[in-house]
Symmetry: C2
Subunit: 253 residues, 2 copies
């Protein structure tokens, strides 16, 4: 006891610590129900604001997740495993598979595909080495598992490269956009993925239906041909609670 | 206006939205000072709890950062760029360089190195294919930029492989642990990095001195020899506000 704290007086931090320890020890395992505000008020003899604040702290830490209408639960992590470079091997999309079909775990489905022709943001125009005002074909879509969106993706292709191909249509056909690029003589052979993580912006939180305390992973992938021409920039926003990213490489790559 | 809201009554969400828009538009650029509670009370004619709640929402979103004793500022992102596989090329550590010396941006220094011999956690023993009770040499350290820790790292080496080498000493010598492994006939040539992101645990938040609303990136790297023997597991915890991770690979890797 320090300062003026009354002996026996329980603060929200004490309750958060208690619950955190029960989660860490496995006493409250992943997926199990967490005591609600009323339970905490009875157990600890506290007022509602204190109970709420304790639960809120654990939500912000991402340890517990409120599910609308059914209570609050210890967060579970059953991720999709996204293995590179395996998933981008030419033998995979070259044989008509979608790229994410090599991902391990529940297979997301693609939803809400839109195709537009736009002048891209400067950062994309730079990477694609486009002239001022040159346009791109923009493919936006989201990936969904069990009705829960797990990823937003926006791909930019130089219009001059892909005009008239199935890349400009909602359905790109077998093997997807990379197979079409190969047919056009622009096979992507080299990739760069840049990753960072941060808390979601409001729009991202809504589009991915993210629980409190869930960061997003941002990936920007650039695809290059064998002669170093950039042919696609793909900006992805991933629900961090849905993915493990795996990269394999050698000291002689 | 919905429900019983009084016309003209300003809620914390309105203020958070206002500030968010000023940040997004660049009116409040990265690094600039954000109005304090007192400023917001005057500007919006609100009580302190409302002002505090608005600022707290933006802190949880990671948009603004409180600096002890000097106020609250729009978050800046000036990351270290960590490029793989370049940073693990044998030509790099083989020539006596530390691995992170190829990282781009401010160069972190290593601090607080400890070396212990322990029985590892089961997950590490599994990956290293160790017999029950077999011990590992554990190297713990943190990486620091401008007195701010940016990464915690814990490397596990099978004791049977590295006993008696400089890997068991605080200073591993030129080229570090990988150069020593090579001398011992266990050159690491193949790597797997597994990444995820989540909000920090209490101990991580303290050890990395993380601002509110800052996730961590977890990386587990496993190093293998040419004959597929695992020789190191390195568990890293990165301050997500300090790093961009870059991976380069080909469709024929």
């Amino acid at each position: 006891m320090t300062g003026n704290a009354q002996p026996g007086r329980v603060g929200y931090r004490d309750i958060a610590n208690d619950l955190r320890q029960q989660i860490d020890s496995g006493e409250l395992p992943p997926g199990s129900r967490v005591p609600g505000e009323n339970d905490l008020m009875v157990t600890y003899g506290i007022e509602q604001p204190t109970a709420r604040r304790a639960l809120d702290a654990l939500k912000n830490e991402g340890l517990i997740v409120a599910k609308r209408g059914s209570g609050t639960f210890v967060r579970e992590f059953k991720p999709i495993r996204r293995v590179s470079p395996d998933r981008l091997k030419a033998t995979s999309w070259g044989s008509g598979q979608p790229i994410w079909s090599t991902d391990i775990g529940t297979r997301p489905r693609t939803e809400g595909v839109t195709v537009d022709v736009e002048v891209p943001p400067a950062r994309v125009a730079d990477v694609l080495k486009l002239d001022d005002g040159a346009r791109v074909v923009v493919r936006r879509r989201r990936y969904v598992v069990d009705d829960k969106p797990v990823q937003l993706a926006t791909s930019y292709f130089p219009e001059a490269l892909v005009a008239g191909s199935a890349i400009t249509e909602i359905n790109t056909g077998e093997g997807g956009a990379y197979a079409r690029l190969a047919e056009l003589g622009h096979e992507p052979t080299r990739f760069r993925e840049e990753l960072r993580s941060r808390m979601p912006r409001e729009a991202e939180r809504e589009a991915l239906d993210l629980a409190q305390g869930t960061p997003v992973i941002l990936i920007v992938r650039t695809a290059y041909t064998a002669d170093d021409q950039p042919v696609e920039v793909n900006e992805m926003v991933l629900d961090s609670s849905a993915y493990v990213l795996e990269y394999k490489f050698t000291s002689h790559d």
